[in-house]
């Protein structure tokens, strides 16, 4: 240890530093300024950027002692007593802050950049930010924030900025562009994420992970590890015998492997020690003897018949490694395909995709007189609550799960995880708080991402472009455990029954177990790959019958207020508006099919649920309950179990309450996702929060409004129904009585005290009564369309996406800025899957387990994104709103590949789109001299 001095944000710190310690660790854990984030520890994500002696550095790969004595500026020092830095304010105003985890690094990078280049072009800004990864925003609003700040600093005022929208339908809070309520905290680096929360005297946990894909554990020797100074506990699998899993039907995982391991990276032992480095050192001293078992690494491996003892999981009725068969059929597909004028059949292959959220998993657990408390980066506190009670074998009443700020999830923080259960277990054993933060490699191995898939799909249509029949045969590779996989299996198929009318529709999905990290839910859950396939087939059919792909789609869209063949109730439906707006903006009819060779436009559409109508764990609780409390001070406390993971759901709840009660956002305070304080909400998955928690909040606010109105009516002798709630006042129609909000609350609370009310959302009864009818049921659905423009370099095969025009039917944009941000992030993530992302395995080992090799598009790789939201005012959504986070990812991927077809006439059937495949297909096409149109 060496004593070092740092002057951080003007304050002097003397700290003891390990000789090889990195600066980020000193700043975060020794100085306690946790605004500096660590997303990768390898200098490849930019979240740790700070300024030392006037030079920006990536503090996670900078030796701390290099800057002994230095002046350091961290994000916490950017704002001054005069307020936020202008750039921070711009990040707020432009909606550049979502989860906020990359924000400190972005702000620091941009501040340094503008110092040297105060009048940058957009391209220069993109270049400057190209080492800062963001998974939420698609960079668009970040770039806009930097550009606009620079312009204003130069005395220029940008034109064409968003005008304040006219207040519609008398709405006051809904429809207003506003930053997230916590954005001020995030942009200053003071919002606390799971690993930022210091708990006194906590031990640190590290894991020993399996080096075998499938093996029997013969023996584990922990004696040397236990003997290491500073080691407090070594946990093994048998100590936590109760299995868990997010679905009640897939309780197939142990927190620590017992008897056998099923993938490389599965946790075999856990060490708790005084420091992370001691725990890591101790893990190396644990000796495990394995007997390798037959490995199943591909879908074909897993479909093969095997001996019972060879199976990955002994349970299950098949004599192979199939986990789930999901099949539904409406009509006779065989006959339908025979009868169709034109049939397109293609096979597709998709690699696995990781969520790539910027904040690694982290959790801290402790036990006290109240039982277990856990702070964890989770999307679904409620299911974690249940999983912890189950595995710890304590009543539900003895578990409290607290969600801090979350650095993105996208489905990847939706399951209960082994590391959470393990720290809870060890904390009970050692009677001390225990914490863990995963490395980026561990995050990748933990996975639960999009399933690698392959599928063969046939689509039949009439010569006049009416889709008649769809048959899908789908295999998905689930990895070692179940996770959400049963749902994924269904979603791959069922979500193809819209947005087009299809009366003859069937699918079969087989989900297999394999000896790889497990797959689960990821943005656009289950339907992203099969949607890609279907939109490609539609494009092919349009081409073959010589019909414009936009026109063909227009002919086939389901109507509003209709039923799909599988009895989904379609209410609002903005498909037509969506495709028309992107066609118009992209000059579709003037350009599609008419651009010079190598340039093309493509279109795709999408469809997604807006909240699963059925809970995962069957019970009669409402899907969401929201509580409001108002006391003498007039502030309304909103408590909800919904998990804000950066998508803005806390703000959405406040908007609901503000709108109904006619009070300003400053009078509303939201506590989200603390299972002790907040009523149950099923959490952030299936795009359910706006619709369900939003409706519950609206319902709660209406209940509170009624209470207030009744109290005033009784006291003042007016009719309750004549009272209006607007602009922080309550008044009668004739204004004979006008009360300030506080006066109204005084009347409400007189002789009664603080008032609490509850609101709820329960989905209506939906769907058919056949087996499997529940899959994909939702009280409402979202729709959308994208057009992409590409240039294909015909000598390298390189594809450049030049523009993305997107439109998404979100029902009603409760906060347009947030809606745009969600859409842009979704389209960007889709572009990543299309262009460069894949989970690449070698003998069951994930090869690209870091942000250098797992290729999330940078700001430079991101084309201009043209954002449109379509408002169809859903009859059951809160103020007409429905989802906007997930559905948007569906259309963008096929839009890109269809654009490649338009550019060079080749059909992409494998993702990601690799330059070499494109080149090969171009060559093949040239050599075969294929006619442009193939007739059947």
């Amino acid at each position: 240890m060496k004593q070092a001095t740092y002057i951080v944000n003007g304050k002097k710190y003397n700290v003891l530093v390990e000789p090889h310690e990195m600066l980020s660790d000193v700043i975060r854990y020794k100085i306690g300024l946790t605004g500096t984030k660590e997303g990768c520890s390898q200098g490849s994500c930019g979240a740790c950027t700070i300024i030392a002696n006037n030079e920006p550095v990536l503090s996670c790969i900078t030796p701390a002692l290099r800057f002994d004595g230095a002046q350091i500026l961290t994000i916490e020092g950017v704002a001054t007593v005069d307020g936020l830095h202008g750039l921070q304010q711009k990040f707020l105003d432009k909606g550049a802050v979502q989860c906020g985890f990359c924000t400190p690094g972005m702000v620091m990078t941009a501040i340094d950049f503008l110092k040297h280049n105060p009048k940058p072009t957009t391209d220069e800004i993109k270049l400057a930010l190209s080492g800062n990864l963001c998974r939420c925003t698609g960079y668009k609003k970040v770039i806009e924030a930097v550009a606009e700040y620079a312009m204003e600093s130069n005395g220029l005022y940008p034109g064409g900025v968003h005008k304040a929208p006219a207040r519609e339908e008398g709405l006051r809070a809904v429809g207003v562009r506003r930053p997230l309520i916590e954005a001020v905290k995030k942009v200053q680096g003071i919002a606390e994420y799971a690993d930022d929360i210091a708990v006194k005297d906590a031990l640190h946990v590290k894991f020993l992970r399996s080096t075998h894909a499938h093996a029997k554990i013969d023996h584990i020797d922990t004696s040397e590890a236990m003997a290491l100074e500073g080691v407090r506990y070594v946990a093994l699998g048998h100590e936590i015998p109760v299995t868990f899993g997010v679905l009640p039907i897939s309780q197939d995982e142990n927190a620590i492997a017992i008897e056998k391991v099923r993938y490389i990276g599965e946790i075999v032992a856990a060490v708790a020690a005084d420091s992370e480095s001691i725990a890591a050192e101790a893990c190396k001293l644990i000796k495990v003897k394995y007997t390798p078992l037959r490995e199943f690494l591909t879908i074909d491996d897993s479909l093969a018949e095997v001996m019972p003892e060879e199976k990955i999981h002994n349970e299950g009725k098949f004599n192979n490694n199939i986990h789930k068969k999901a099949e539904l059929r409406f009509g006779d597909q065989k006959q339908g395909l025979k009868d169709a004028d034109v049939v397109s059949t293609m096979s597709f292959g998709f690699e696995g995709i990781n969520h790539g959220f910027m904040e690694p998993h982290a959790a801290t657990a402790w036990w006290d007189e109240n039982g277990l408390t856990m702070v964890s980066a989770t999307q679904v506190t409620h299911y974690l609550h249940r999983a912890l009670a189950k595995t710890m074998e304590v009543p539900l009443s003895r578990v409290r799960v607290i969600k801090p700020y979350i650095g993105g999830g996208f489905g990847g923080k939706g399951d209960p995880f082994p590391h959470e259960i393990i720290v809870a277990h060890i904390a009970r054993k050692v009677r001390k708080p225990v914490r863990v933060v995963l490395t980026r490699e561990e995050v990748f191995i933990t996975n639960h991402g999009r399933h690698p898939s392959r599928m063969t799909i046939s689509l039949g249509a009439s010569n006049d472009g009416i889709l008649q029949v769809l048959d899908a045969d789908i295999n998905i590779d689930g990895g070692a455990y179940g996770s959400f996989g049963v749902v994924t299996s269904y979603y791959n198929g069922v979500l193809l029954q819209a947005p087009y009318k299809l009366n003859n529709f069937g699918f079969r999905t087989l989900r297999v177990y394999s000896n790889k990290p497990q797959c689960g839910a990821m943005r656009g859950h289950g339907a992203v790959n099969s949607r890609f396939a279907v939109e490609s087939l539609i494009d092919d059919i349009a081409h073959r019958i010589n019909m414009d792909p936009v026109d063909l789609r227009m002919k086939n869209f389901l109507d509003s207020n209709s039923l799909t063949v599988g009895q989904y109730r379609i209410t609002s439906n903005g498909s037509r508006e969506s495709i028309q707006v992107v066609a118009k903006q992209s000059d579709w009819y003037e350009r599609h099919g008419k651009m010079e060779y190598g340039h093309g436009l493509g279109v795709g559409c999408g469809f997604f649920i807006s909240g699963s109508a059925l809970p995962i764990i069957w019970n009669e609780l409402p899907q969401s309950t929201v509580h409001l409390k108002v006391d003498f001070d007039g502030r309304v406390l909103v408590t909800s179990g919904a998990n804000d993971i950066g998508q803005g759901s806390d703000t959405m709840l406040a908007i609901m309450v503000s709108e109904v009660l006619g009070i300003g956002m400053d009078k509303i305070f939201v506590i989200g996702a603390d299972t002790l304080l907040t009523p149950v909400d099923l959490g952030s998955y299936s795009s359910r929060v706006t619709f369900m928690a939003g409706n519950a909040a609206k319902n709660a606010a209406e209940n509170l409004k009624l209470e207030i109105a009744n109290a005033i009516a009784a006291k003042k002798g007016v009719a309750a129904e004549e009272l209006n709630f607007t602009d922080d006042t309550v008044f009668t129609n004739d204004k004979s009585l006008v009360l300030s909000w506080l006066e109204a609350i005084e009347i409400l609370t007189a002789h009664r005290g603080a008032v609490s009310v509850s609101g709820k959302y329960i989905s209506p009864k939906l769907g058919g009564d056949f087996k499997g009818a529940g899959a994909g049921l939702s009280p409402s659905y979202s729709f959308g369309a994208c057009v992409a423009e590409v240039t294909v370099n015909t000598s390298t095969g390189h594809v450049k996406v030049n523009n993305i025009w997107g439109a998404h039917d979100c029902g009603k944009a409760l906060n347009p800025m947030t809606v745009e941000g969600q859409l842009e992030g979704s389209w960007h993530m889709g572009m990543g899957q299309a262009m460069s992302e894949e989970m690449k395995y070698y003998n069951g080992l994930l090869v690209n387990n870091n942000f250098i090799d797992y290729k999330i598009p940078t700001a430079l790789d991101t084309p201009p994104i043209h954002t449109n939201y379509i408002e169809t005012i859903d009859p059951e959504g809160p103020f007409g709103a429905k989802e906007c986070g997930e559905g948007a990812i569906h259309p963008v991927i096929p839009a890109i590949s269809n654009a490649i077809f338009d550019a060079v006439g080749i059909r992409i059937t494998k993702l990601p789109i690799r330059s070499e495949d494109v080149l090969e297909l171009i060559k093949q096409k040239k050599s075969q001299h294929q006619p442009l149109t193939i007739t059947v």
Binding site: P19, L127, S130
Partner: protein, 309 residues
Amino acid sequence: MTSERLYTKPTSVQEALQTAREYKNDFAFIAGGTDALVNKYQGNVDYNCMIDITGLHELKQVSVSGNDLSIGALVRLDDLGKFGMITDRFPALVQAAGEVASPMLRKSATLGGNVLCENRCSYYNQSEFWREAVGYCLKCEGDICIATGGKKACFSKFVSDTAPVLIAANARLEVHDTDGVRIIPLEAIYTGDGIKPRNLSPTSLVTRIVLPLTTEYQIIFRKLRPREAVDFTSLTTAVSLDKAGLVRIVVGGVDPKPVVIDGKKGEDKDALVKKALSKCRVVDNDYYSRNYRRDMMQLFLKESLDQMW
């Protein structure tokens, strides 16, 4: 726990070399650290003594002496473009430096560090746990090359983007060692052995990169990578032509060392390209396949040569 760790930040080359001698096989020189410290984090290397050379201000200068342009080894990639002499005479070097990693990394990474960048391979640049699971490759004391499915040689990729340009311009290195100072052609330090890709002794310190000003070069630089930032190279080509009509082709990212082919203006281009191709030992250890990188190498070189005559 590990034995005593040490960090030291010498202020002179002599002090740095002295410390290196004391810690012989248990130290590393750290400049920007953008490559070296990631490898240390991953456990590819470990050492107790970290000699941080960023305090050697004498190595941050760019100067002209006689017929040479001398660039200090610690000049950061981001700073190369700030020197008129470099932008005027060697714009391709600035271009190459500008395509290394990301802007922020280029503000720490140095030119010396980039030419000494450790070779990379999908099966080597991994954590200790990962390499144990895969069964350790040749480059980390294993028995076989995993990338090639069992060959007894290591084909880790040479990934410096600046070195091909420097070699194309006949750059030399000034190297300090216990036995004094040497000036050697840059290309001479690369062994072609993926396990030990450079022949410099561990205690030697590269202090300057020296470029000849006597000749004027036209240099065409190209880089293949999946994304427009962050990525290490999948293929780097630099082709130079001087006033005398001498052509030099340098290819990185496709062999454990930079592949160098000399020729003359007017020679059969396809033959030159073929010659380069035959010297590159490309294996599947990259985002792009072996075949694609071979194809692109031919394309890049052909297109570069076509721009020259």
